[in-house]
Symmetry: C2
Subunit: 233 residues, 2 copies
């Protein structure tokens, strides 16, 4: 998926003139050895941490979540290759409000806030890409909010599964597999539901032949039927 074509040809050609791409641009802004490997489960930052860096995901999957005081969790986003997180430091966040945790082994490029702002000030096309990124992030969160207010748990689960295969899907012989291991609890955190209800809804979809699940892997076998369930067919 490429966020960066949304501005159409004008920005594309400007980027071509610049002879650069957001990934290269950010890689150049960091020292070459700065890319670090993060292992599955590792916490990059958690609520309250002081950290003024923006992270570019060179490779891997990262989970961003809200944690309330009692430890309940709401997963806001799962991000993959080429995406950016921690960008709230650009708009004045001094301490982290979220948890950022590795869902699948990752290589991240951290970039200091000041460096990032300098870069944006020098490269307007980069600013537009960041705006596109924020816009997409805002729209994703809005969709989640609408789902929470207006949809029941089975519908929310179906919509979430569709988003996961859309953004992180891998073709297999049996169907489209979500490209990383995911537990029922993690799915529940994504749709703002209890683990038990999520498991029941998943089991129902499995019984209807819509999906297959084994060893933390979920394969969507019938995307058409899943769309029906989600009310978007």
């Amino acid at each position: 998926m490429n966020n960066f074509t949304v501005f159409g040809m004008r920005m594309m050609s400007e980027r071509e003139r610049n002879g650069s791409h957001i990934a290269e641009e950010l890689a150049q802004a960091t020292s070459p050895n700065n890319g670090r490997i993060y292992k599955k489960g590792e916490i990059i930052y958690q609520p309250g941490d002081a950290d003024d860096r923006v992270y570019y995901i060179k490779q891997g999957k990262i989970k961003l979540a809200y944690l309330d005081e009692s430890g309940r969790k709401l997963t806001l986003a799962i991000l993959g290759d080429g995406e950016i997180f921690g960008e709230m430091v650009l708009v004045g966040e001094r301490r982290r409000e979220h948890l950022a945790q590795v869902l699948q082994d990752a290589v991240l490029l951290p970039i200091e806030r000041e460096k990032f702002l300098d870069l944006i000030a020098r490269k307007p096309w980069l600013a537009l890409e960041i705006i596109a990124l924020f816009g997409k992030r805002a729209r994703d969160i809005e969709k989640k909010l609408e789902d929470l207010v207006f949809k029941d748990i089975p519908t929310r689960l179906s919509r979430q599964l569709l988003r996961l295969i859309h953004e992180h899907g891998e073709e297999t012989q049996e169907g489209i597999q979500i490209g990383f291991k995911i537990t029922h609890k993690e799915l529940a955190d994504l749709i703002g539901s209890a683990r038990e209800n999520t498991t029941s809804a998943l089991n129902r979809l499995a019984r209807e032949g819509i999906l297959d699940k084994k060893r933390y892997r979920i394969i969507i076998k019938d995307e058409g039927k899943l769309k029906e369930k989600s009310g978007t067919s």
Copy 2:
């Protein structure tokens, strides 16, 4: 409230060098007679509309809401002087997904998408302000999402009232008044609750002397107690 100081002195001085401010910049980008008066209740756009403009609120209050097919409504934001909306056209939205409606008589400056993008490409500081705006919008929506998942209706109402007086409050002798008329239904749409439950929660706060309500006006008489109710004191 000023979103534009978040980047600190560097951007401030750059803006001073430019001798300009976001409002003037946008006013210049539109023809001077382009500012139009919109009356309370007027619909600026609704879901499905084709409209490629970004709107700058010179004055007034605008409500942005999601409408589902059955007509249920979730209010995403109430915006005031100096704020921007409709910015999703910058990230490729071709048809409106939301309702934008006048909550209090407004003067709006509409700016075509292409004009806006040109402006951003020429003025990096403007791009940073737009990023700040998107960031704030994303954070507001996230807070709403967290409230919906983790908080009950009385708590959500208290938190919403605090935001309203923070962003749209006017000092009066009796306390801080929300700066526009608002119905119980509109409050309910803001917190994702039924009108009846919102009215009960409001009545409880009135009985406890925390607020006063008459003729669509709400005055917060005891902000400290309201903060206790919201769990943020």
